[in-house]
Each structure stands twice: as C-alpha cells, then as structure tokens.
Symmetry: C4
Subunit: 204 residues, 4 copies
Amino acid sequence: MTNLQQRWEELADIKDELATRDWFMGTSGNLAIKVSESPLQFLVTASGKDKRKRTSEDFLLVDASGQAVEETHLKPSAETLLHVEIYNKTKAGCSLHVHTVENNVVSELYGDQGEITFKGQEIIKAFDKWEEDATLTIPIIYNHAHIPTLAREFSEHVQEDTGVVLIRNHGITVWGRTPFEAKKLLEAAEFLFRYQLRLMEFTK
Amino acid sequence: MTNLQQRWEELADIKDELATRDWFMGTSGNLAIKVSESPLQFLVTASGKDKRKRTSEDFLLVDASGQAVEETHLKPSAETLLHVEIYNKTKAGCSLHVHTVENNVVSELYGDQGEITFKGQEIIKAFDKWEEDATLTIPIIYNHAHIPTLAREFSEHVQEDTGVVLIRNHGITVWGRTPFEAKKLLEAAEFLFRYQLRLMEFTK
Amino acid sequence: MTNLQQRWEELADIKDELATRDWFMGTSGNLAIKVSESPLQFLVTASGKDKRKRTSEDFLLVDASGQAVEETHLKPSAETLLHVEIYNKTKAGCSLHVHTVENNVVSELYGDQGEITFKGQEIIKAFDKWEEDATLTIPIIYNHAHIPTLAREFSEHVQEDTGVVLIRNHGITVWGRTPFEAKKLLEAAEFLFRYQLRLMEFTK
Amino acid sequence: MTNLQQRWEELADIKDELATRDWFMGTSGNLAIKVSESPLQFLVTASGKDKRKRTSEDFLLVDASGQAVEETHLKPSAETLLHVEIYNKTKAGCSLHVHTVENNVVSELYGDQGEITFKGQEIIKAFDKWEEDATLTIPIIYNHAHIPTLAREFSEHVQEDTGVVLIRNHGITVWGRTPFEAKKLLEAAEFLFRYQLRLMEFTK
C-alpha cells in the first residue's frame, strides 16, 4: 500500500467512525489528512458526498493552495482553505471539521464573548493540560460567508500543531499531529460542550 | 436490474438508514420514490409494516391518484395522498415523511404561528441558501384527521422541486429531486430542530 | 421448527431489537410470549441474564401460574406474575416490560395523578385511536415491592387484548395480540413520553 | 484457552460493549479484570489507546502494586492505582472506570455534599437493595490531580466486594465480583444519573 493509500484508508476510517455518531448531518462537515510535506499535499473530502457511504470518490488530493493536484471532476470541500491554513502553518497531520447540535449551541451562547473556557474537568487532559487547576480556552470566531475572509480570521488561531476553533453556528475544527490525536481532541471537545450545556440547565 | 428494481433498492436503502436513527417509532412514517413520469408511478411504503426490517412487501407501486398499479393485498400508506401532491406538482424524485420527538415538539411550539424561521445557521446551506443572512422558513400546517383535507392544505406548500413542511404533531415531510437530496434536506431540518430546542432552553 | 421454537425466535428477535436501544439497563426488564392456549404456557425471560446477549438460556417455559413447566435451573423473572395476569385475562400473545429514563420520569411526575393523558398527537393512532380529538390515557400504579400485591393492582388495568400500564419508577408494561403489535405500542408510548418531557421543558 | 486469555477476552468484550455506547470519549476511561489471587495479578487497559478498536495491545498484566509483570513498551493506565486498591482490599473480579456527561454533571452538582442518594427507584435492586424504601448512596470524592492522593481517598470507600464511587468531574468507578456484575452496577448507576438529571429539570 502506498503512502497515499494508507492516508486514504486512515481518513476513510475516521469518516466512518464519525458517521456512526451522525456528525455529518445534511452533508455537513469536511475532513483532511496530510499526505506529503514537500510539496505539501493533503487529501480532503470531496464536496456534496454522502459521508455515511465509503466510496472511491470520497476524497481528492489537493496542494498547498487547496487546488486539486490532478485533473478530476471532484470538487474539494468549500472550506478547504481552512485546512490549507492548518497544514501551511503547523506540523498537523490531520484536521476535522464537524457540526454537532452541541458545538453549534455553545458557539451561539458564547459567541459574543468570543471564547469559552473550561476548568476543573478531568477530560481536558486530552489537551495535554495536567495541572489540578488547568484551564482550556476555545476561541469562537464569526462565521463569514466569504470563505477567504473566514480562513484569514481562522488562521489567527492556528499557531500550534494541535488546536481547536469554534465557528459561530458553523461547527468545530480540530487538528492534531496524527489522525488519532485529532480524533481524541474532537471527542474531548464534544464531551465538554455536552457537559457544559447539561450543567448550565441546572446552574443558569 | 430494471428501473423499478433500482428505485426499490434506493428507497429500501434510505429506509434502512432512517431506521437506524429510530425515525419510524410505532410504525409511523412513510416514504416514496418516483419510478416513471408518464404515466406517473411511484413506490410508496405499504401500510402497517415494521420499517426496521427489509422485505419484499415494504413498498408497492401506485399511480398518479395513489392507487395500486397492480392487484395486491398490500395497502398503500394512509398518507399516500400527500406524496401524490408532490409528484403531480413538481419534478421531485423522492419524498420522506418521518416523526421525530424534535419535529413534533417544534411543530407544537410554533404551531400557532404557522411557521418557524431559521437564520444565521450554516446548515441552512443544505437548502441552497448561501448569503450571509439567509433565512429558511418552514410552514407548519394543521393536522386534519381527514387525509384529503390534509393533502389539500399540504398542497399549498408544494411549489418547488424541493421542499419541507411540518404537520402539527404529525412529523415532517421533505422532498427533493433525488433520494440523496431529500435525505440531505431531512437531516438538515432535523439538525435545525434539535439546535433550536437546545438553544431555547437557555434563551427562553 | 416447532411452535415453541418459532415463539422463542420471535421473542429473541424482539429482545435483540430492544437491546440495541439499551432498554435493559442493569439487567432490568422482562419479556414474554404465549406458546399455547390450553394448557396456557408462555415463554418468559430467565432472571439475571445479560439481555444484550442471545443464548439458549434466555427464556423458560412457564404455566398459567408462572411456574416452570419442566425441571430447570433457570428462574423465571421476578415479575412473571404480571405476565400471568395478562395471559390469563386476555387474548394477548406478547407482553413487554422495560425501563427507560423517560418512562420512569413520566411515572414519577404524573404518579400522584395516577395517570397521564395524551391528546392531539398523531402517534396515538398506534393505539387504534383515529378521531381528530382522540385521547390516550395510561394508568400509573404504585410500585409495591411485594410482587403478588403489585400483580393484583396491575390486574385491574388488564381488561383488553392490548394495553399499557406504567408502574411508578418501575418502567412500562405493554401487551398486544402479536409481538409486532406489542412492540408498536411500546415504541409509540416511549415516543409520547419523550415528546411530553421535551415539550414540558418549554411550557411548564 | 488459558485463564489469562479468558480474562483478556472477557475484558475486551466489555470494552467493546461500553465503546458502542461511546463511554470512552477522548481516550478517557480504564478497565481491569483480576487474573490471579496469589500472586495478585490483573489486566488493566494500556494508556493512550483507542478503546473503540480491539487489538493485542489493549491491556497489560500488572501486579499488586500496579507494575507491569513483564517487560513491555505498554504503560498501564495512569489510574491503575485505583484498581490496585480494589483488588487488594476486596474479592472483586472486575473494575470499570468511565466518563459520561451525566456522571460528570451529577458529580459536580452534588460534589459539595460529597454524595448523592437515590430512593424509591426500582433499578436500585441492581445493588441488591430489595426493601420498598431502600436507599442507595454513592460517595463523590475530590479529583486530586496527584494520583496516589486520589487513590488514598478513593480507598476509604473500597470496603465491599461490590461498590461504586464518583470522582468529581472525573467519572465513575464501579467494581463487582464478576465482569457481569460490574457491568450491571455501571449500567444501573448511569440509568440513575440520567433519571435524576431528567427529573430535576422539572422539579428544581
């Protein structure tokens, strides 16, 4: 199996797993995995596909500007530019963008503040925070309809090899050095969002 | 595989998928797929079947008035007349009617207003709304027990090749040019209903 | 396949299906299916089994008083006496008892009233209520720890071949002429409980 | 199959089952099963693994102090010391630690009280409480980041062969004489947490 095939299978496996949680409602969401460093190339989900199915047209290979590397009838996901920022600025190997009801509601409730902070929750250790009073702050950015503008604002929060950003009413984007790490951060963030909302029902 | 068989398999696949989400509680829900234009014929779910099972009696072929095309002991779903309106008035290829707790609750909470409007939610792009401040309005009609009356009121909202209507305490009906489009609209609408209810818990 | 084997497989199928919904938390719940009329014999779940697994010891055959028909090391479910009431008093063919969070919460919230009534909900047609303003009333009885006492109070509500009773903080029991009918009533009731709780969050 | 292999398979089966409920979000959670009494040895989950996958590196054998019995590149779960307390002090055969949104929220809402008590709920019979007014009290301890300190406080509540402890914002730990019993207690506790939160939404 070539490196490209291996990456393809890894990304397809993650897609399957997130699909079983129904995290791609209404064909929302897009995923990417880095294939090579130089030149920078990564696989990204093709636009308008049913992410609950596994087919040979689920992904396409794009370059550092998000353009298809080879002639193809497939269109890269509309938000490929966000993945471009991640791979150009960090050593991330995988990036995931999904919509859940909880990440959308949290992004709306905390949108005016521009961020949400978690503290005293064991699960934030997934973000490599180990002190007893560690805090985790997730930025929430405005959902510009113009994707290059959105990518520019998004880019301000892309500084490390792992990260997580909420776009208001537009889901979460996480990235990690490996697919496994990206998935771990995504799960931990979603757990925290659910926790926060459930707790707020009793403390608001 | 004949055209009829292909349509059958497509509809059965959608049924399986919606069944895994438990969207047919208490044998509720009905589905249809167009098989031919002229004469107009479509497959519709047979009445009183367990939609979690896949059998050779799940659907039957009906004509433009909703009558079985061939002699059969199967009864078309009681609400076949609603699907009749869709295929007679539009170029839709597939129509789906399901009950979820969320679509029922939304239909009750917004029933007196006769509609619910969503704005500023990325996921409404599933409905081909791309502007930054796009809005999506879903009509909510009264649940007449007399099906021909219900179909008449329903018909007023059947004007385009894609669409979505809530019936008060009686689920959602969506239609699209293809089964994939109908499913996309259904998922997007259900996502919006869940979002709306979850958000309202904190903002009411 | 003998009649006994057929009934066994039918009940095992229902058990599998309810298990996928996680309706047997903490080994709760019990199920029964009638095997013969005279003498009255029915299969009932053996006590203390993991209902997510399918084994040859999941059920045992009991008589009209709930005693094992043959020598066996299996113990009939502690609540077999409730199923005894159903098969002795009606023509039911299957009876299901499950705990869900929603049926427990509804039974507690409406327990002092002794019943809960649903109206204007399409899904109550599952209970053969077809008029536009049909109502469905489900009795809620006290959870006597002494099973014969519980069975006696339960018995007062066992009058027709289909039925549904809530026991306060002790789940729901439904029965129907066929396994399919019992399952349909169970699903419809659970849908109504979820609907009611979700709606009450906004209208209380 | 050796005793070790049998225990391995039993623990892997439980891991699979809990994974289908998504109870290991963000690689959280850890599980253990006793393999021998003297010397005391038990299998415990290896650190940093994807618990949704089944591999030959999911568990490793440790001794009465939680150290790996054989040379290995695998690291026992960071919280192995809690399992050590259980197997050293009781006749438990299996112990499970998982994070759910509900157990975390309950642990936070009742954390200042240091415990939560359930009463009049049928499902507490899973804890061998059979009287009509039986109560079940689950202690909630402080989440010390220093694991030996956490293990010491945890140990105060490890007195019987079955048990359940909440760690504030850090999930639940249950143990039982058999894997089946541990799983039963876990499910019953989670059911009670969900019930409690759902009920409190209407009674707070």
